[in-house]
């Protein structure tokens, strides 16, 4: 039990997908202008990362490793992820049409969110067991959602202040993200990487 808790804390906070591993930065900069969109995106991505990581783990173990096709990993994983995104899209459309409307164009683009492929590659390269891998993927995506929501909150405040014209837009967002990354560095040392 303690071991599982350690895995979760390490994946979600210490080695945060966005702020420590630099994965999924496009969505981090692109859809964090409002808290509710960021939360929706976090929710959808959590679902995609967990489902596709489980599928990728199975593909790696029973298909690629079993038949010595390791070199096809990138191509197969991206196909699995694209299908998982399509599946998520259909599910969300059925379960919550409002969320579907809100996420709009961003939903199919989760395919090119490198956090999804990145987490899948990390867990097969770490040779994790299935349960370990699933927990790792789920906790990583929770960490992703957490940072997305925190950053969206910061940017909502940021939109109300006067920023020098040269810094307006992305530059000030980067600098704020840098400070957030410093804050998250405080977690290092809680759990082993």
């Amino acid at each position: 039990m303690k071991e599982f808790a350690m895995i979760m804390i390490s994946a979600a906070l210490v080695n945060n997908v966005i702020l420590a591993r630099f994965l999924g930065l496009c969505s981090f900069m692109g859809v964090t202008t409002r808290i509710d969109t960021a939360a929706g995106m976090g929710f959808a991505t959590t679902f995609v990362i967990t489902v596709s990581s489980m599928a990728d783990w199975a593909v790696q173990t029973y298909l690629l490793d079993a038949y010595g096709l390791g070199f096809l990993r990138t191509v197969t994983f991206i196909l699995v992820i694209a299908s998982a995104v399509q599946f998520t899209e259909m599910t969300i459309k059925k379960v919550s049409p409002e969320l579907f409307q809100m996420l709009g164009i961003y939903l199919p683009l989760i395919t090119t969110n490198c956090a999804v492929l990145g987490v899948a590659l990390l867990l097969v390269e770490g040779r994790m067991s299935f349960i370990h891998a699933t927990l790792f993927a789920f906790a990583s995506s929770l960490g992703y959602s957490l940072v997305m929501v925190i950053f969206a909150g910061l940017r909502e405040r940021l939109a109300l202040v006067q920023v020098p014209r040269l810094f307006a837009g992305p530059p000030i967002a980067f600098i704020v993200a840098g400070m957030l990354a410093m804050a998250f560095m405080g977690f290092s040392g809680i759990a082993a990487s």
Partner: protein
């Protein structure tokens, strides 16, 4: 098209890729390797070159098959083409540039989900003949390389006081001459090598490009922060 028009178009493509529409500093695409692989100028340079090769090759292929790819299935086809090119680069680097391959690690396969190649395929290669598409992919990639090398250089100089450290190890012995030490070893600001430094240096360099563009009398681009 006459020759003059042709060469005019080509020079626009080159200028767009290297500076005016620079993938990192103007369009803010491909941020993940930009932040992760710029702890030193050498890493940034290697990552940029790998991306440039993938971009050139996949732009060329997409442009060759642009009339056969229907709009409905274009995105999966693009992703598969990019993934195939990435696999080739991945295997080639593993074989011939093994040290660099070990350093870049995860971020070589992740070129597949870099927004920059896909954005150029969609915006340029899908509508243009093969040669301009190849040129666009290549020079957008080189612009990316320049950006990564500059960010890497700034972080490396402030963070560890060196420039192009380990270049001979990662790129080959002939690069030994560019290895430099600019500051004494104990003056490095470790924060610049760690994640926060990546964000802050990139932010400040975007501002620097805006300043240069303003000096040159150009409109500064407020856009950016593109979709996912």
């Amino acid at each position: 098209m006459s020759n003059a028009e042709n060469s005019n178009q080509y020079s626009t493509i080159v200028k767009d890729g290297l500076w005016d529409n620079n993938g990192v500093f103007s369009m803010l695409l491909g941020m993940c390797p930009t932040m992760a692989m710029t702890t030193s100028a050498t890493n940034g340079f290697g990552m940029g070159l790998a991306t440039a090769v993938v971009m050139g090759a996949s732009s060329y292929l997409v442009a060759v098959f642009r009339n056969q790819i229907t709009t409905e299935v274009r995105i999966p086809v693009y992703i598969l083409i990019v993934a195939a090119m990435v696999t080739l680069v991945d295997l080639a680097m593993n074989a011939w540039m093994h040290e660099l391959y070990k350093v870049l690690g995860l971020f070589i396969p992740l070129i597949v989900s870099n927004c920059l190649p896909l954005a150029r395929l969609e915006a340029f290669a899908a509508k243009q003949p093969p040669f301009p598409a190849l040129l666009d992919g290549l020079f957008m990639g080189l612009g990316f390389t320049i950006a990564l090398t500059v960010i890497g250089a700034v972080r490396e100089i402030i963070g560890s006081g060196t420039l192009f450290a380990d270049a001979s190890l990662l790129l080959g012995n002939s690069f030994k001459v560019i290895e430099m030490r600019l500051l004494p070893a104990d003056m490095g600001v470790l924060m610049m090598i760690l994640p926060p430094g990546g964000f802050i240096v990139t932010g400040l360099l975007v501002v620097a490009k805006r300043v240069l563009d303003l000096r040159a009398g150009k409109e500064i681009q407020m856009a950016g922060a593109h979709a996912v």
